[in-house]
């Protein structure tokens, strides 16, 4: 029949090609790493091959665009590499669906790791990913604008009230004092608003994932604090279409004086507008309480369908060594001992380092993505002016209740 001859034809014609399309052989580890890691990853691979000549590492570079979709499709369809670089937040979804294997046996020196990093990728007391990179946000501000507004550039605001006052003083002559995000990917706003809830004793859901906290009085107060920046004109009018990157551009264009950002932004700002005198401050906290931040970063996972999981684990062990981890990471390593390396001594990074101990993982609930989406929709309803804070959070709470 036509069907079979077509299939045979394809298989026959393609078998030669198939052999050369990067199918894994025994002793070969296929590692998917994103483009921003490529140069350093290659160095590490060369170093690894010296001491492990029997294992070949096939490094394949991924793009950041569309990465979650591509990884998920590979995992779901059973054609996965041996090691993948993923963001901490994705590991949970994979673990839920049994797409990756536990890595408790690969982890050395558990105490050396920042606890929050490990918590992030732990589910049901098993470790599903190996964190190698952690980072958090801080607030970047324009020292020049501070001076013009009569504020002391070396004494940035520490508390919520001080932040509001500073923002008000800075909002003049076409500038916005403090930019918040209201658009783009959900993660942007979660990373920037959830810490305020934590600082105030609230949250979206409880740590054990059984209770809805998003409409509790503490949380509502924090959400009100966050959205009021837009309501009171201290955040740009384009807030609903802005994510972190847009805010950075507004900062570079000098129409924003303060905004929350990661350490990457510092370099971009220096390149695109060297005239700005950059200052970094820790995220302001309510009076008498501690600051907090959401811990971001990346982990390694080994897919359940990996062809050579044992060799992959050996490579993982190598990458997890303090020195190698410190070399690979773009921001900070997940191991405390690695943080003493010279490259992390840059003065402007100090504030970011200070924020790290206050970093917490996002709650590990199977439906976390949908939960955060429900919360984000609520935030946008507030910013659109559709609902007030309490109503919007009650609406989000109802949705989240159904997801728990």
């Amino acid at each position: 029949m036509k069907t079979r001859s077509i299939k045979i034809g394809f298989v026959g014609a393609v078998s030669a090609l198939a052999l050369s399309t990067g199918m894994a052989f025994a002793g070969e580890v296929v590692w998917w790493t994103p483009n921003f890691n490529e140069a350093r990853a290659r160095e590490l691979v060369a170093k690894f091959q010296e001491t492990h000549p029997d294992i070949t590492v096939n490094l394949q570079v991924t793009t950041t665009d569309g990465l979650p979709q591509r990884v998920l499709t590979a995992l779901q369809s059973g054609a996965a590499p041996d090691i993948i670089d993923v963001q901490h937040g994705w590991v949970n979804g994979y673990a839920q669906n049994n797409l990756v294997i536990p890595l408790d046996d690969v982890l050395q020196d558990r105490e050396d790791y920042v606890p929050a990093a490990l918590d992030y990728v732990t589910l049901n007391d098993q470790l599903w990913g190996m964190p190698y990179r952690i980072e958090s946000l801080a607030v970047i501000y324009n020292k020049g604008h501070f001076a013009e507004a009569g504020l002391d550039p070396e004494a940035p605001p520490q508390t919520w009230d001080e932040l509001i006052a500073a923002a008000e003083a800075l909002t003049q002559s076409g500038r916005s004092g403090f930019a918040i995000t209201g658009g783009g990917e959900v993660g942007n706003t979660i990373f920037r608003s959830m810490p305020f809830m934590w600082m105030n004793g609230g949250g979206i859901i409880s740590e054990d994932g059984t209770q809805v906290l998003v409409n509790s009085p503490e949380t509502v107060a924090a959400v009100e604090f966050y959205t009021n920046f837009y309501k009171n004109g201290l955040s740009p009018s384009s807030t609903l279409e802005n994510d972190g990157t847009a805010n950075r551009r507004l900062f570079i264009a000098e129409t924003v004086s303060m905004y929350q950002a990661g350490q990457f932004d510092v370099n971009s700002i220096k390149t695109e507008n060297p005239n700005i005198d950059i200052g970094v401050m820790t995220i302001p906290h309510p009076e008498g309480k501690d600051t907090a931040a959401v811990l971001g970063g990346w982990s390694f996972v080994i897919p359940a369908d990996a062809k050579n999981p044992d060799e992959a684990k050996i490579l993982l062990g190598f990458l997890a060594e303090a020195e190698n981890q410190g070399y690979l990471t773009d921001t900070f390593p997940a191991r405390v001992s690695a943080m003493d390396m010279e490259r992390f001594d840059d003065p402007i990074l100090q504030v970011y380092k200070q924020m790290l101990p206050f970093g917490r993982p996002a709650p590990a609930h199977p439906n976390w993505v949908q939960i955060s989406q429900a919360y984000f929709d609520g935030i946008q309803r507030i910013l659109l002016g559709d609902e007030d804070v309490q109503t919007a959070m009650d609406g989000a709470a109802a949705e989240i209740e159904a997801l728990l």
Binding site: K7, F10, V11, A13, V14, S15, L17, A18, T21, G22, P34, N35, F36, Q60, T63, T64, D65, G66, Q69, R70, T73, A74, Q76, S77, G78, A79, G244, T245, R249, L250, I252, A253, T255, G262, F264, D265, S268, T271, E272, N273, D330
Partner: protein, 283 residues
């Protein structure tokens, strides 16, 4: 041409209307593209300013240099050409026959089969991407030209069949029937009468198939993991790192992606004229 024809000047839009219409059309179509072009010669510093800058004070060709000499774009260009040409050719072959069948024949279940052709277009991408990946894996076609060409049949074939059917229907059936009476076979009629008369339709379907596969991103991203097979849209995505996108390079690369097709279409304009049916029904 008889005298009467010469005297009857073709009525058409009055010239001022044509001019205004063309200007508006060109402005609307070109404005974002021109903005992209401007952005491709700006330095990063001038890309995001408030208020926006029309013309860069220091125009630069650095972005083009990056795109053409320091990135994978040239290789991906080649891959895109091979894959797009391959799927276009394959789709046209299959579609010409199928459309002729739908246009000229009446058989049981024809509406059902025509609906079936469109089914592939109705499946949400998110639903089919994983099973398609499994299919490719089973056939051993992941990361090959043929793998992508085959998958692209899902998006090119339905439309090609659908559109060609209507173009073929528009050809007067009397012409074909006259030829059959004269003893021509069905295939002969198809190749000697129907196809030549539907050249504009064929070209537009060809352009459609080519452009769609040229710009397709998500299938290419998942099914082509090696730079020997990766296509241009993936090349675009490679200019974005985690927190930064090299917008100048993206815009320059977009120009590289778009201009060849426009120029190609321009060169095919000679074929895209009618008048081939003029006089066909005269004795």
């Amino acid at each position: 041409m008889s005298d009467t024809t010469l005297k009857l000047k073709r009525t058409g839009l009055p010239v001022p209307l044509i001019i205004i219409g063309s200007v508006v059309l060109v402005a609307v179509c070109l404005f974002p593209f021109w903005w992209m072009g401007l952005s491709s010669i700006k330095t990063l510093r001038e890309l995001y300013t408030i208020p926006p800058i029309w013309w860069p004070s220091m125009p630069t060709l650095d972005n083009y240099y990056t795109v053409l000499f320091e990135s994978n774009i040239p290789r991906y260009f080649l891959n895109s050409v091979v894959i797009s040409l391959g799927s276009t050719f394959l789709a046209m072959m299959l579609a010409i026959f199928a459309s002729y069948g739908f246009a000229r024949f009446d058989f049981k279940g024809k509406p059902l089969l025509q609906s079936f052709v469109l089914v592939g277009q109705l499946l949400p991408t998110a639903a089919i991407i994983v099973p398609l990946f499994v299919t490719l894996r089973v056939l051993g076609l992941v990361n090959t030209y043929w793998g992508l060409i085959l998958i692209y049949m899902i998006i090119t074939l339905p439309l090609s069949v659908w559109m060609l059917t209507s173009y073929f229907r528009a050809i007067p059936v009397e012409l074909e029937e006259a030829a059959i009476i004269d003893g021509a076979s069905r295939l002969g009629v198809l190749f000697r009468i129907t196809l030549p008369l539907s050249v504009p339709g064929l070209i537009s379907v060809l352009v459609y198939a080519f452009v769609t596969t040229w710009n397709e991103f998500i299938f290419a991203l998942v099914f082509a993991t090696d730079s020997s097979v990766k296509t241009l849209p993936i090349g675009l995505a490679e200019f974005s790192t985690e927190f930064n996108t090299d917008w100048g390079a993206v815009m320059a690369a977009s120009m590289v992606m778009t201009l060849p097709i426009a120029i190609l279409f321009l060169s095919m304009q000679r074929l895209f004229v009618g008048g081939m049916t003029a006089g066909a029904t005269k004795g």
